[in-house]
Point group: C2
Chain length 141, copies 2
DNA sequence: CACAATCATTAGCAATGCTAATCGGGGAAG
DNA sequence: CTTCCCCGATTAGCATTGCTAATGATTGTG
């Protein structure tokens, strides 16, 4: 494959990824949480109790930013801060029952919306896309 | 393709897109422009003169948001607003020479970085990915 | 001609991201 | 034991991005 086509693939992949995520982001509305808050909550629920620094690192954000997001989640009763008994500088952030349920019940709205879009494809196209996604995963890593 | 595999493709596509864009976002630093500004400038350079509404629609953003982004690009001399002679309510937004050069010369750092990643693939993989990207464009639209 | 529709902008709000500064606990050196 | 420094989290303050509502200017229509 020539350089020209490679550039074309790169530019279009970049553009399509942006559009896809922007389109899917609208699905987040149903949860009543913004994208960063939903993502942080998901991380807390899935990865169990985390310190603030760990959470910030997982979400690729600075500690003050994450501290404020946690504030908002605490304010909605989705998450709690617990002082770490071993090191009282640190906090352990855990989901409340309500927080866990919001994620489980709401069920990955973004993925669900994406499945809906994939259903409109022909079967052969879905297979070709599946192959492309495998390669995309390597490219993104 | 079964429902289970479709869900798998959807979840992995979502996750891979997020990772890809996060990785590429680091490249933006060198341009001195934020991601939305760089993306808007790229659209203006590639798609030629556009009205504000067209540009907002292309970037999936509301007109006031885009108006402010254009303000910033005008302030840096990367873009100009020209009154449309056919309809004086409308403006035509064009790149300046400096704006075009920033993209062409220094620019498209993200795409350039992505090309580097694609070069590590086997030729057959690049072709399969190219096919997947075509389909992804339809899914994302 | 009057009136509604359209395009862009302005005003004002909330949220996200950052850095710098601060508070308080932990740990090591003297 | 005390002092001094490091470290985790938070607070303060700024810039940017996103939105909706309202305003201005212009176009087209009844």
């Amino acid at each position: 494959m020539g350089e020209v086509q490679t550039r074309d693939v790169a530019a279009r992949l970049h553009s399509a990824s942006i559009r896809l995520l922007r389109a899917l982001r609208r699905e987040d509305d149903g949860s009543g949480l913004s994208a960063p808050r939903l993502s942080a909550l998901s991380c807390i629920v899935v990865e169990g109790p985390l310190s603030l620094a760990e959470l910030a690192e997982a979400e690729q954000v600075r500690p003050p930013t994450m501290s404020r997001i946690v504030d908002a989640l605490v304010g909605r009763g989705l998450v709690t801060r617990i002082a770490d008994p071993r090191d009282r500088r640190s906090v352990r952030i855990m989901p409340t029952q309500e927080g866990s349920q919001l994620l489980i019940g709401g069920g990955e709205r973004r993925v669900h919306a994406l499945i809906g879009r994939l259903h409109k494809l022909a079967d052969s196209e879905r297979r070709a896309l599946a192959r492309g996604v495998e390669i995309l995963e390597r490219v993104a890593r």
